[in-house]
């Protein structure tokens, strides 16, 4: 199945802006994050801590809704889902 990953601001510079990524059916949010960690390489420090966990300030959304940290291992994604990942907002 195809998941569309959108990254913004500094995370866009690290991961790319709008990526369709192929995953096996049944993939959960943690699967997507592991793929992003691989893609980020050395620059991933801005997004992941030393243990590979998402840093606390990172905001994650699925189809326009916030994803909570305790859902990462259980939230099963569907074909065509949009996942967004970004740092704290700074508009205005």
């Amino acid at each position: 199945m195809k998941i569309r990953v959108k990254a913004f601001a500094r995370f866009r510079e690290i991961l790319g802006s709008d990526l369709p990524i192929e995953f096996p059916d049944g993939a959960v949010m943690a699967t997507i994050l592991a793929a992003l960690r691989g893609r980020a390489g050395d620059e991933g420090d801005a997004i992941f801590d030393g243990a590979g966990r998402l840093r606390t300030h990172v905001i994650l959304m699925r189809n326009g809704r916030r994803v909570k940290r305790d859902e990462l291992d259980t939230l099963v994604l569907a074909d065509g889902d949009e996942v967004a990942i970004f740092p704290p907002v700074a508009g205005g």
Partner: protein, 148 residues
């Protein structure tokens, strides 16, 4: 259907015409229109900034902020326009117009709207200047980011 004409909520790449927006916001029952203009500032040699948004979610958050303000304050209208793209020093980033019968509630609502916007609306800015570029740090608080 509410009793007021639909407010303007938008994210735009075009120059914001503040005067025209204020005129368009006026209604017969309003005695006060409080406007807030956020402008690109020359902070230590900043020449321009680039703004980007997660547009669908940003518009939805702006609508939520407007609806909240309309519920919590006795005001008649809220317009919010946020610009994205490349802006030079002095250009308008954000325009908030609150229309009300009287000034006090319009001032209070305006401040509330801007504070919420800075916390929750997914928009980011990068400064470009003499000394290179940098992302403006966002709100790292617990309530940071879209509420839902």
């Amino acid at each position: 259907m509410r009793g007021y004409i639909m407010d303007m909520i938008s994210i735009t790449r075009d120059v914001i015409d503040t005067g025209a927006m204020i005129e368009a916001a006026k209604r017969p029952g309003m005695g006060a229109l409080v406007t807030f203009c956020g402008v690109v500032r020359d902070d230590d040699g900043v020449e321009r900034i680039e703004l980007e948004a997660y547009e669908d979610v940003a518009v939805r958050e702006l609508e939520t902020i407007r609806d909240e303000a309309m519920r919590e304050f006795p005001i008649e209208s809220v317009d919010i326009i946020h610009r994205i793209g490349s802006l030079r020093v002095g250009e308008t980033i954000l325009l908030v117009i609150v229309g009300a019968g009287h000034r006090k509630e319009a001032f209070a609502a305006s401040e509330h709207i801007i504070d919420r916007l800075k916390q929750t609306v997914p928009i980011w800015k990068k400064e470009f200047g003499r000394d290179g570029d940098r992302w403006v740090p966002g709100d790292y608080g617990k309530t940071s980011g879209p509420a839902q």
